[in-house]
């Protein structure tokens, strides 16, 4: 099995920041892929499948976090994740 590790800096662009609905979307995506996602802010890294851990990163608008995806389908996963951040979690603003 190929284990590819990708890392990328992502910026929170939606007004409300990484709140419940946005965090839920990250978890939803995480559950669709084999690869594992870790999100890091201020040297704290959390599992992308844990909604509470993501919330407790406490990321208002403008925060930059580092996403690390590890596993076979990491490329698709990262692409999808970047898209989600880029589209402001579907909140349009």
């Amino acid at each position: 099995m190929k284990r590819i590790e990708l890392a990328k800096k992502l910026k929170i662009k939606n007004k409300l920041g990484l709140h419940a609905r946005a965090a839920a979307k990250i978890v939803q995506i995480s559950n669709q892929y084999e690869s594992k996602l870790f999100l890091k802010k201020d040297n704290r890294e959390v599992d992308g499948r844990n909604i509470l851990s993501i919330l407790t990163l406490s990321c208002p608008m403008g925060t930059e976090i580092e996403a690390r995806v590890v596993g076979e389908d990491s490329e698709n996963f990262m692409e999808k994740l970047s898209e989600l951040f880029e589209q402001k979690f579907g909140e349009g603003r």
Partner: protein
């Protein structure tokens, strides 16, 4: 005592979903599960305990999935709330850490789960963002379900309610809401919760009148009591007498009339009987409000508050973020104008991002335009964003908290620099953009003649003007009663500002709660105000009142009003003259 003849009592809470209903109370008991604490000794007990916990998790999961499937269509779009409940249930901070505790600490599942939740809530406690912080309620709701399943005691299901009732509960979770049989439930009241809770949002979507945050509703109300619930004002009356019932039946009719009024007449212009056209605009802060301005008949935005982005962002918002935000508002409202008030932060909205020493009197401290003139780069960023948005519709710039001419000159100078920068960078903006000021400090009233020569418009902010002129902190309960819009001093000040604007030939409008108060409006028109900006929801009723009066007549009526000596005299005088002319009482409280 017979419940139905119990003593009449009044409660006041937070109105979260509009409408007036009269009906029987149905108390829902939602007492917390009692937790037993046990040490487990043998290893096989531990494994059994883990299995018991895992089973409770899967039972809970199925319950929530069921709720989600049965969700009424009106609230389907909020189903993510239940999704996030499911995710919390599966979060390792709940699952793994509880199992670890059972095995390592050798304690029972309930105790272990409670410890996990305590840990989580400690982490949440340290979060600055109040919205995220309050998500701990979701964690508690979910664990409460798990605890109940562990105990084997079923919770009273709300699905079983078969009579038309008003639900009275300590708290209702969003999950509870999806269980409600909305044909049977007329509305609800709760002890806790507020306007921004998920429960409130769902109540609005379901059009269920609701009052939350009543603190002691479940202690004061008995099952079967007759209740009046006013979701417009937040009033709840327990065991109302016949007079109150009749009173509220009238209000109910008024509310229905009001609702149809919005549909039928909110788009008609506010022209008085003698042909004076009054411009009515809306005060907005959230984008959701922007969307409804036109529905309520607003002719633009008279006050766009820009603080939200600064409060929400980490650090200061960038020019790009501000620009996108303003452009969206301007495009939505176009071709009607939007008056953007520059940052009015400080005092009560104090911003921890700036290194400013604690002030003993923030209302009189470094805030609004004063702060902007000190943090000039931040100010210029905002002005650039506003200027750039100005080509997407009609935009006006308004500086808050002006106390004298120097601030106007300084602010205009920075605006000039921002314009020059844009010129140099060849970025487009409206070169004719109008610049105005808020008149909300008494010294600005006194200097209005001078100020009028340097700006394109005045906007009188009565909320602050009353506070500063009467030296009343309206949040201080000991003096709040002295906050009097009808104080003759206030009326005289407004008159002075209107006269100064008129002499200089500039426009003058008024925002603040007075603009949306049916009793104040006629008097304001008689003083010469011809533009008002208010909470969008009050627009239809104010327009209706304006269409039913004549300025000439009100001028006669109020000829001597500024000669009266006390606020009480003015109020009586106004009330006496207006009661026949203002046919509908204000159905919705609140203004600017």
């Amino acid at each position: 005592m017979d419940n139905h003849t119990g003593e009449q009592k009044r409660l006041r809470g937070i109105a979260v979903s509009p409408g007036i209903i009269i009906g029987k109370a149905h108390l829902v008991y939602r007492s917390k599960v009692k937790i037993l604490y046990q040490y487990l000794i043998r290893d096989e007990q531990l494994n059994k305990e883990v299995k018991r916990f895992e089973k409770a998790l899967s039972v809970t999961e199925n319950q929530i999935l069921n709720l989600k499937n049965r969700m009424p269509d009106q609230v389907k779009e909020h189903s993510f709330i239940l999704d996030s409940c499911l995710m919390i249930l599966k979060d390792s901070m709940i699952t793994d850490s509880t199992i670890q505790r059972i095995l390592n600490d050798k304690i029972n599942a309930e105790w272990a789960l409670q410890k996990s939740v305590e840990d989580i809530s400690q982490v949440f406690d340290q979060i600055d963002d109040d919205y995220i912080k309050s998500r701990i309620n979701d964690v508690e709701n979910v664990t409460e379900r798990v605890l109940r399943n562990l105990s084997g005691k079923a919770q009273e299901s709300l699905a079983g309610i078969s009579e038309r009732v008003i639900i009275v509960a300590h708290d209702l979770s969003p999950a509870d809401m999806t269980e409600l049989n909305i044909d049977k439930v007329m509305g609800f009241i709760t002890n806790v919760g507020g306007k921004t809770s998920h429960t409130a949002i769902m109540a609005q979507a379901l059009e269920l009148p609701a009052v939350m945050g009543l603190e002691s509703a479940t202690d004061q109300v008995e099952d079967g009591d007759l209740l009046i619930l006013d979701g417009n004002t937040g009033d709840v009356i327990i065991n109302p007498d016949d007079i109150e019932i009749n009173n509220y039946k009238k209000k109910q009719i008024q509310h229905e009339e009001y609702k149809s009024l919005i549909v039928k007449t909110s788009h008609l212009p506010a022209t008085t009987l003698d042909g004076h056209r009054i411009v009515i605009k809306a005060n907005v802060e959230f984008f959701e409000e922007v969307m409804s301005v036109r529905d309520y008949g607003g002719e633009g935005v008279g006050l766009f508050r820009t603080e939200l982005l600064y409060l929400k962002s980490k650090g200061f918002p960038t020019e790009e973020e501000l620009f996108e935000d303003y452009r969206e508002v301007v495009e939505t409202i176009a071709p009607d104008p939007v008056t953007i008030r520059t940052l009015d932060l400080g005092g009560d909205k104090f911003d921890s991002k700036l290194e400013i020493s604690k002030e003993t009197n923030p209302a009189l401290g470094l805030r609004a335009i004063r702060l902007c003139l000190k943090e000039t780069e931040m100010f210029k960023t905002q002005l650039r964003a506003i200027l750039r948005a100005s080509i997407y519709g009609e935009v006006q710039i308004m500086f808050p908290m002006i106390s004298g001419l120097q601030e106007v000159l300084d602010a205009k100078k920075i605006l000039g620099q921002a314009k020059e920068d844009l010129n140099r960078e060849k970025i487009e903006y409206d070169h004719e953009i109008k610049v105005g000021i808020m008149i909300e400090i008494p010294s600005a009233v006194t200097m209005a003649e001078v100020l009028a020569k340097h700006v394109d418009f005045f906007n009188i902010g009565t909320n602050d003007l009353i506070q500063y002129a009467l030296a009343i902190d309206r949040i201080n309960e000991h003096v709040a009663y002295m906050y009097q819009p009808f104080h003759p001093a206030i009326l005289k000040m407004i008159q002075q500002v209107v006269n100064a604007a008129r002499n200089a030939g500039i426009n003058v409008s008024l925002c603040g709660e007075m603009a949306g108060d049916p009793l104040c409006v006629p008097i304001l028109l008689s003083i010469g105000i011809n533009e008002l900006s208010m909470n969008a929801r009050t627009i239809p009723i104010i327009k209706k009142i304006i269409r039913s009066i004549s300025i000439e007549e009100t001028c006669d009526d109020f000829e001597n009003v500024t000669e009266l000596s006390t606020a009480e005299e003015v109020r009586e005088y106004v009330f006496d003259r207006m009661k026949s002319k203002v046919p509908v009482s204000p159905p919705l409280a609140g203004g600017g």
